[in-house]
């Protein structure tokens, strides 16, 4: 009985060491570690790593393409903008030249119109002056004749004897000259 208890104790002591050092299970674990590892490596290398590789590659390719595309779009946009600015600049220049031309033309037209107007006015003035002169002369003539007749009539009535026409005329002329002198003197 004691011996059996002793044996049990001994058995217990034996099993209380680290189970990791029990060499009876070494061979199978070594074998399966190697097999498991290589199976895993095969599976990952065959199915997983290429898939991740592919997706990472295609993603970086996509990003690269997108960046390139964006760069291209930027260049295109810049080109369009430059083109547009150019057009605007040209339109502005065109407007400016047109405006200048129009201004010059307008000035010329105005100048011409003014000249024409002046000419016409001068012409009108000249004819008016002429007319006035003529009318004045006419009027003077009429006044003179009227005066002569009036003088003749007056003289006839006054002295009841007709004065000869040349005599009367010289008298009127005298009177008129006198009157003219007076008029000039009044001026």
């Amino acid at each position: 009985m004691i011996s059996s208890a002793y044996a049990a104790a001994e058995g217990h002591a034996q099993s209380s060491g680290l189970p990791q050092f029990e060499s009876s299970v070494f061979a199978s674990q070594m074998f399966w570690t190697v097999v498991s590892f290589f199976v895993l490596m095969y599976l990952l290398n065959r199915y997983v790593i290429p898939a991740i590789n592919d997706i990472l590659d295609s993603r970086s390719k996509k990003i690269g393409e997108d960046i390139q595309q964006a760069e291209k779009s930027r260049v295109e946009a810049e080109r369009v903008l430059a083109n547009y600015r150019d057009q605007v600049e040209r339109a502005r220049q065109l407007t400016a030249t047109t405006l200048d031309e129009a201004r010059i033309e307008a000035a010329a037209i105005r100048e011409q119109a003014l000249a024409e107007l002046n000419e016409e006015l001068n012409k009108k003035k000249a004819s008016a002056v002429e007319e006035i002169e003529r009318t004045r002369i006419q009027a003077m003539e009429q006044v003179r004749e009227a005066a002569v007749e009036l003088a003749m009539l007056a003289t006839e009535k006054l002295i009841a004897k007709t004065v000869t026409k040349p005599k009367a005329e010289s008298m009127v002329k005298e009177a008129l000259e006198h009157m003219e002198k007076n008029r000039i003197g009044m001026h």
Binding site: V25, L40, L43, I49, A51, I52, I55
Partner: protein, 263 residues
């Protein structure tokens, strides 16, 4: 009479000891063979460790396969996570191997996720942590070790031995330095495997102790270890990641040393 009494009392004590809950935080590291297979004397039995290795492999593959089922230019949540994992490992490879590191990417990628998922699936209650088995981490570490030796000689021939002679050292110091370099080189697989195994074992042992106390203590006392076990599970998730990361980085460093012989 006396003899029988002591025998009875011993037997009773043994029975009592058997009936009482016995703390054994190392119990869950016990490898249990489910199916014994040994063709031609080669033991390839399926155990709980092997099963959870398979589950981890399946989980990694299923996750990535599902996440990348319909790869889109604008990724969804899972695809983003899968791509982040991929880019994370690619960053490690680029940073630590750099030029000529591309052919090793699938291996490093698989290694990281194999270790990571073995670490993480071990946190599922009633599961098994394959990376808490020294032989599992040692198998991986030795594979990396021999790969780095093979790569060194494959790329540089005998000149690879110059790896053990630090440049710019006085000749007088060489008899001292060369053995140190050789020892540190040979220590690589040991440190690589023991670091992972010890971290996993220690973390799960602490979790085992905490779970034992939170299950066996009366309710007034059990909430404390229970709360700790919750917090520590989160810490273990983090440690599982960190250890996989370290394992991967060191693998890259070792491969880099063999590829680019600057020392």
């Amino acid at each position: 009479m006396l003899l029988t009494a002591t025998a009875i009392s011993a037997e009773a004590a043994q029975a009592a000891a058997a009936a009482a809950p016995r703390m054994d935080p190392l119990h869950h590291f016990q490898v249990i063979k489910y199916v014994e297979i040994a063709p031609l004397g080669l033991d390839i039995s399926v155990s709980n460790s092997v099963l959870w290795m398979w589950i981890s492999v399946a989980a990694v593959f299923a996750f990535f396969r599902y996440a990348m089922r319909e790869p889109a230019l604008v990724p969804g949540r899972l695809q983003s996570i899968a791509e982040a994992g991929y880019l994370f490992i690619r960053g490690i490879v680029d940073e630590n191997i750099g030029h000529g590191g591309k052919p090793y990417f699938p291996m490093i990628f698989s290694l990281f996720f194999f270790v990571l998922f073995c670490n993480w699936t071990g946190l599922i209650p009633a599961s098994f942590t394959a990376t808490s088995q020294l032989i599992v981490t040692a198998t991986l570490a030795l594979g990396i070790f021999f790969l780095s030796i093979f790569l060194g000689f494959y790329k540089h021939g005998v000149k690879f031995l110059g790896f053990f002679v630090p440049s710019g050292l006085p000749v007088l110091l060489l008899p001292l330095m060369v053995p140190i370099e050789i020892i540190s080189f040979l220590a690589r697989p040991v440190s690589l495997s023991v670091r992972l195994f010890a971290n996993m074992t220690a973390g799960h042992t602490v979790l085992g102790v905490l779970f034992f106390f939170s299950a066996t203590l009366p309710w007034v006392g059990s909430w404390l270890p229970f709360g700790f076990s919750v917090v520590f599970t989160a810490v273990e998730i983090f440690i599982g990641f960190i250890q996989a990361y370290i394992f991967t980085i060191l693998t890259c460093v070792y491969i880099n040393d063999s590829l680019h012989l600057h020392h």
